[in-house]
């Protein structure tokens, strides 16, 4: 119950922030631009639109996740708004969960609108829906799962470092995670100390690349049901662990 109230207030804060709308407008502009680009490239219009559109949704979604995520908890401590929340019958872990769900909810609504934008663009281009569009929908869902993961580790970082440090770390984590397939192959082929580091990194850093199916989907390829289940399970486990770690750190910390 209290988690829900905290989440709702976090959502309200994001929705009343102008920055959010600026980012969404940019995402729409990018989808619009890929529509125009698609019209001057004959034959691969749909492929281009799907690829660029998904990239735009992912890019702006992750940007919002990181930029709101770094301040999610630290801003409340800095401005001392936590004082009048944590002295109520609210547990610290409930506060962390509420903040997390509030941002994830914001990102869900964002992704929904941006996804609608992409589908409108698709409809405008092809004048019909086809079976392959279902896989575009799944790809959008995977992009959302990326945001769920990014939010979780951004919040973890911000629970023990400054907003700027957290942003840098979160960005690095995201970029490395996007190449996690390469890390896994490196850990398999390398030797000695490199192998140790590559293996650790491959398991600590989130497997973002598995959640990126846009190239395949743009080609009209299918996404297997098992992949969806696996990715969903992975995203829940990984972000669950990150949020739990953030809550543990928050439980012990002094509020200045």
């Amino acid at each position: 119950m209290r988690i829900g109230y905290i989440a709702a207030n976090t959502f309200r804060e994001a929705v009343r922030d102008r920055v959010l709308y600026n980012l969404i407008v940019f995402a729409f502009l990018m989808i619009g631009a890929s529509l125009v680009l698609g019209q001057i490239t004959i034959g691969v219009e749909r492929e281009l639109l799907v690829n660029l559109g998904l990239a735009a949704i992912a890019f702006f979604g992750v940007l919002i996740a990181i930029f709101i995520g770094i301040g999610l908890v630290s801003k409340e401590i800095d401005k001392r708004t936590v004082y009048t929340v944590l002295t109520r019958p609210v547990q610290r872990w409930q506060f962390i969960l509420g903040k997390y769900f509030g941002l994830v909810g914001t990102l869900a609504v964002n992704t929904f609108f941006m996804g609608c934008g992409l589908f409108l663009a698709l409809l405008y281009m092809t004048h019909k829906f086809e079976r392959a569009d279902i896989y575009v929908l799944i790809a959008i869902f995977f992009v959302f799962l990326q945001m769920v993961i990014v939010t979780s580790f951004t919040m973890l970082f911000s629970s023990f470092s400054t907003p700027i440090e957290s942003a840098v770390m979160a960005f690095c984590f995201f970029v490395i995670g996007s190449f996690s397939t390469d890390l896994h192959s490196l850990s398999a082929s390398a030797k000695g100390i490199v192998k140790v580091f590559a293996t650790i990194a491959a398991y600590v850093v989130p497997n973002i690349s598995a959640l990126n199916v846009s190239t395949a989907v743009a080609h009209g390829e299918a996404v297997a049901g098992a992949t969806v289940a696996l990715n969903l399970g992975y995203a829940l486990l990984y972000s669950g662990a990150m949020v739990a770690a953030a809550a543990l750190i928050f439980q012990r910390r002094n509020m200045k």
Partner: protein, 311 residues
């Protein structure tokens, strides 16, 4: 029963870039506040008042010692449901209106849904926030208005025990007066109030008992009347006739002369001696009135006593 009890509660902050320099913000503090009291926690800026409140509120962990709130621990949500807290220079979610903010806090404090709206409205009314202000975003509020919102959120859920850190700061004289009345009315409702201030007259007018802290150290606890009477009273003597002035000056008293009238403040112990001199010199005694010692006198005396040894 005690509403608050602390046992050698102590806090060191680690300061400096590498957090290597421990700074003792609060020396071991043992204090008891019975239920139903208005308790003033007095001290100059930097005395450790806010630190004590953060420790009591569980926002900061003590270096050593412990505290009990309503016979339980502040870590327990059931205890937190029964307390209210106004932080120093409060700041709130500035994208909310006063009504939205208080509704949110009412939700978190477990005020039943059916009662929230009425409770929020009556509390805002009680702290004197104008009707047109309550639907304005808090970012447009003045410091004094924020202070009122702060007091409102501390009493909204009808807590048994209220902690207020500098509740009158940022308010104009009328506002201070209103907050004083409000604190007094909380006591009438049977609540316990623990408030910090560096303004002695606020405490003098309100408190059953006060504690005085300076440099993180407790310097005295007691009823205001006890403290001021321990200083011993002074007497103001006014007379007419200059014949006695030299002899009284010789006792080491200061005189203020206005025309034929002279006045002097003398310790009670010296009063008879002074009156004898006046009679002997045929001065006409106009009045003898006790001068009440103020908390400020006590406070200054307490600070003077121990400040030599500090740091």
């Amino acid at each position: 029963m005690n509403a608050i009890a602390t046992f050698a509660l102590e806090k060191f902050y680690l300061t400096g870039f590498w957090r290597k320099h421990p700074k003792q913000a609060l020396k071991p503090l043992t204090l008891e506040v019975p239920e139903g009291e208005i308790f003033g926690y007095l001290g100059p800026n930097g005395a450790g008042k806010t630190t004590t409140l953060r420790l009591l509120m569980g926002l900061v962990k003590p270096t050593a010692g412990s505290s009990k709130i309503l016979n339980g621990t502040i870590e327990d949500p059931a205890i937190r449901a029964q307390i209210g807290f106004l932080p120093e220079q409060p700041y709130f979610y500035d994208y909310l209106t006063a009504v939205e903010l208080l509704t949110y806090y009412a939700q978190l404090s477990g005020v039943p849904a059916g009662e929230r709206q009425r409770r929020v409205a009556s509390t805002l009314d009680r702290v004197g926030l104008a009707k047109d202000a309550v639907h304005t975003q808090l970012r447009k509020f003045s410091k004094g208005m924020l202070q009122r919102v702060g007091i409102a959120q501390a009493i909204l859920h009808q807590p048994k025990l209220v902690f207020l850190d500098e509740p009158m700061s940022g308010l104009d004289p009328i506002g201070r007066r209103e907050v004083r009345d409000l604190i007094a009315s909380l006591k009438d409702e049977g609540k316990t109030v623990f408030f910090s201030t560096h303004i002695l007259s606020d405490a003098e007018a309100l408190c059953d008992r006060v504690a005085i802290v300076a440099n993180g150290e407790l310097r005295g606890v007691g009823a205001v009347a006890e403290m001021t009477s321990s200083l011993g009273g002074n007497m103001e003597v006014v007379w007419e006739g200059e014949g006695a002035n030299e002899a009284i000056k010789a006792l080491g008293r200061e005189l203020r002369v206005a025309g034929a009238i002279t006045r002097s403040v003398v310790p009670e112990s010296m009063l008879n001696q002074v009156l004898d001199i006046l009679r002997a010199k045929n001065a006409r005694i106009i009045s003898v009135t006790p001068v009440r010692a103020t908390l400020e006198d006590y406070f200054l005396q307490k600070l003077a006593q121990t400040s030599g040894g500090a740091d």
